[in-house]
């Protein structure tokens, strides 16, 4: 078992037994669900919206080179710079070199999952540059020295008392657990940072090819301050974020907001495409876009998995996932958590080390049902399982087990006999009170669950009787 798999199982067991944690998450997800249902009802045809978004992302991803070049050209036309990074290291290097060359001492960041993916923050801090997360949720987890718990609501796992204690310790001037006043305290602290930072770093929800602009979705306004006030604006984005046309946002913006938080559209849907122009009042002197590949082009080459690149990072699949709700966002130990994280991480960081995430799923398909770009998420989890099995040596016990299984199910009489044997075994194990012990073949399940009573008759027998009676 890989180290990551071991840690996942340990943390998942701990978190699923933490009832206070589960209550906080349940409350958060319930409130999201209520808003999301309201949000979807504002659409005349939500399914049509999903189909449209799927089509837009399909077109973008299947012409990725063309749209990225168009985007690059238009950014350059406005005096911006575009850097293509093959991996995390190149992306980090470009940004740290830029920061050094420009004498940057403080960076304000709005939310960017790619910056987590490439570990940008620690790289800047190692050079003595102060990095301040400005999204309130990100700010809170940064103060706690934790990674984000959820890609949309990073501090979802904390209640107001915990946040109040944190602010009292770190900011000093707060002594309340009223959310309004906690937000005001963060606003005061972060205002100072916005106006003293030399560099603002943002992610991008979309790279709009025909406009040469990035589209940024925020509610707080931190993204707008990061991109307006500091002297330098750096955008960090995966290459798959490109979309063909500005007009596509007429569907993507409301769909992203509805899937992400249940809002009809977020407060600030911003487009930025360069440094301050000669006819403009304000804005940064420099504008840089760092396009990150980091394994995405390999995913593109895998035709079966290509649509995973359609993801718009709304978090809907995470909220819908019964596994996430139970084990929590930190247990995954990955930048992207929940179903999309379980699909994406093994592809970006190694099937071998992260194949266990393909099993962090009940295959219920709730993720696929809610995905606004219609990614067939639970099928991709199955593909990952298959590819991981094919790529590695499985233990002999597993191979023999499946050989026996195959032999048994290939013939009706053998299948009946196997069923009879299994029911007998269940009864014996239960009679001897061996459920969940090392002698129980169903131990992985039974050690955490009360074993159901073994059925007296097989399904086939019951079915035959039912039909006979009719």
């Amino acid at each position: 078992m890989s180290h990551a798999a071991h840690e996942f199982l340990r943390s998942a067991a701990e978190k699923s037994a933490d009832l206070a944690h589960r209550q906080i998450i349940r409350r958060g997800i319930d409130s999201y669900n209520a808003a999301n249902v309201r949000g979807r009802s504002r659409f005349l045809d939500w399914e049509a919206a999903r189909l449209r978004c799927q089509e837009i992302k399909w077109e973008a991803v299947n012409n990725l080179d063309r749209y990225l070049l168009e985007f690059e050209q238009r950014v350059k036309d406005r005096g911006g710079h575009v850097f293509w990074a093959e991996n995390s290291e190149e992306a980090r290097q470009y940004i740290t070199d830029l920061a050094t060359a420009r004498g940057v001492r403080k960076v304000v960041k709005s939310k960017s999952m790619v910056s987590e993916e490439i570990h940008l923050g620690p790289a800047l801090e190692k050079m003595g540059i102060k990095v301040v997360e400005t999204d309130l949720g990100e700010y809170i987890v940064q103060l706690r020295e934790e990674p984000p718990y959820h890609i949309v609501t990073p501090a979802m796992h904390l209640n107001r008392t915990q946040i109040a204690d944190l602010f009292k310790e770190k900011l000093g001037d707060v002594d309340t657990d009223d959310p309004q006043q906690l937000v005001a305290a963060a606003r005061r602290a972060l205002r100072r940072d916005f106006f003293s930072a030399e560099m603002g770093i943002s992610g991008a929800n979309f790279l709009v090819a025909d406009a040469g602009m990035i589209a940024l979705t925020t509610n707080e306004g931190n993204g707008r301050l990061c991109t307006s006030v500091p002297r330098i604006h750096v955008v960090l984005s995966g290459i798959e974020k490109v979309i063909p046309r500005l007009q596509d946002l007429a569907t993507l913006w409301p769909v992203l907001a509805t899937a992400g938080t249940g809002q009809p559209i977020t407060c600030y849907s911003t487009l930025a495409g360069g440094p301050r122009q000669p006819n403009e009042v304000d804005g940064p002197e420099e504008f840089h876009v760092v396009l990150v590949d980091n394994g995405r082009s390999e995913l593109l080459a895998n035709v079966e998995e290509r649509e995973v690149l359609h993801c718009i990072r709304c978090g809907a699949c995470i909220n819908a996932c019964p596994v996430f709700r139970t084990v929590g966002g930190h247990s995954y130990g990955t930048t992207y958590m929940g179903p999309i994280g379980s699909v994406l991480t093994p592809r970006l960081r190694g099937l071998d080390e992260f194949q266990h995430l393909s099993y962090a799923s009940s295959l219920c398909g709730a993720c696929t049902d809610v995905c606004p770009v219609r990614i067939n998420l639970h099928h991709h989890l199955l593909h990952n399982r298959r590819d991981a099995v094919n790529a590695s040596d499985r233990p002999w016990s597993e191979r023999i087990g499946f050989m026996l299984w195959r032999w048994a199910v290939e013939d009706a009489r053998r299948f009946r006999a196997a069923g009879w044997l299994a029911r007998l075994g269940m009864r014996v194990v239960h009679r001897l009170r061996l459920d969940g012990t090392l002698l129980d073949p169903a131990r992985p399940w039974n050690k955490n669950h009360a074993a159901p009573p073994a059925p007296a008759k097989s399904f086939r027998a019951l079915w035959g009787k039912r039909n006979g009676n009719n």
């Binding site: 045809d45 309130l136 559209i265 407060c267 495409g273």
Partner: protein, 221 residues
């Protein structure tokens, strides 16, 4: 400050593009799409819809008969704010209305630079108003980037003929005006700054304005 041009040329760019092109030699089938299906119900009464959506997203919308009345309405709003300078987009239209406010407030015009952090309010125009979502579309031409985000109160002076039914129409308008090629910044603002990052409880005024006020004149004069 160093002024060296950043080095964006690198062998990685060509290698990434090569990988993308190789990967895309094999195509995936086009998905179904939503051809012929309407995603949103068409907006019929733009004014009524805009006002309804503003109420829902907590934008204060004040309707007035003409721009001169709008200016007086803004003067009333300013009277209730703490003392201090205000920031106003430098345009002919707003210069003409400014005397209504200058009696009590000193004005920093956008031609003098971006708004200071101490500005009590910013007053700008808009590119358009979107009825479907109750949104205000601004570009860098509307007093710059900071004009709609730095101060605690953002007042938008608009006219009813700026209303468009939906986002499609707003993007169409931007295309006609060539907005994204003239300016480096556009923002669709829907309500004032907010966050629900603490226990999913809605709090207004996270980093941007605590109040967004649209003063909407039915006619120009």
């Amino acid at each position: 400050m160093a002024t060296t041009e950043p080095q964006t040329e690198n062998p990685g760019r060509a290698r990434i593009l090569e990988r993308l092109r190789t990967a895309l030699r094999e195509s995936t089938p086009r998905p179904l799409g939503a051809e012929g299906r309407s995603i949103f119900a068409p907006v019929t009464d733009v004014m009524a819809r805009f006002q309804k959506e503003c109420a829902a997203n907590i934008t204060e919308c004040i309707a007035t008969p003409d721009m001169q009345s709008s200016a007086r309405a803004v003067a009333d709003l300013l009277a209730a704010l703490p003392p201090g300078e205000i920031f106003v987009q430098d345009s002919q239209a707003l210069r003409r209305l400014a005397p209504e406010w200058q009696a009590t407030r000193s004005i920093q015009w956008s031609s003098e630079g971006g708004p200071k952090e101490s500005a009590q309010a910013t007053i700008t125009s808009a590119e358009a108003l979107v009825a479907l979502t109750g949104s205000v579309l601004v570009s860098a031409a509307c007093g710059g980037r900071g004009a709609s985000v730095v101060a605690p109160v953002h007042i938008v002076m608009a006219t009813a003929d700026q209303l468009v039914p939906d986002l499609d129409a707003a993007f169409e308008l931007m295309r006609e005006r060539n907005t994204v090629f003239q300016y480096s910044y556009v923002c669709l603002i829907t309500g004032s700054s907010r966050t629900a990052d603490i226990e999913k409880i809605l709090v207004m005024g996270a980093h941007g304005p605590i109040r967004l006020i649209v003063v909407l004149a039915l006619h120009h004069d």
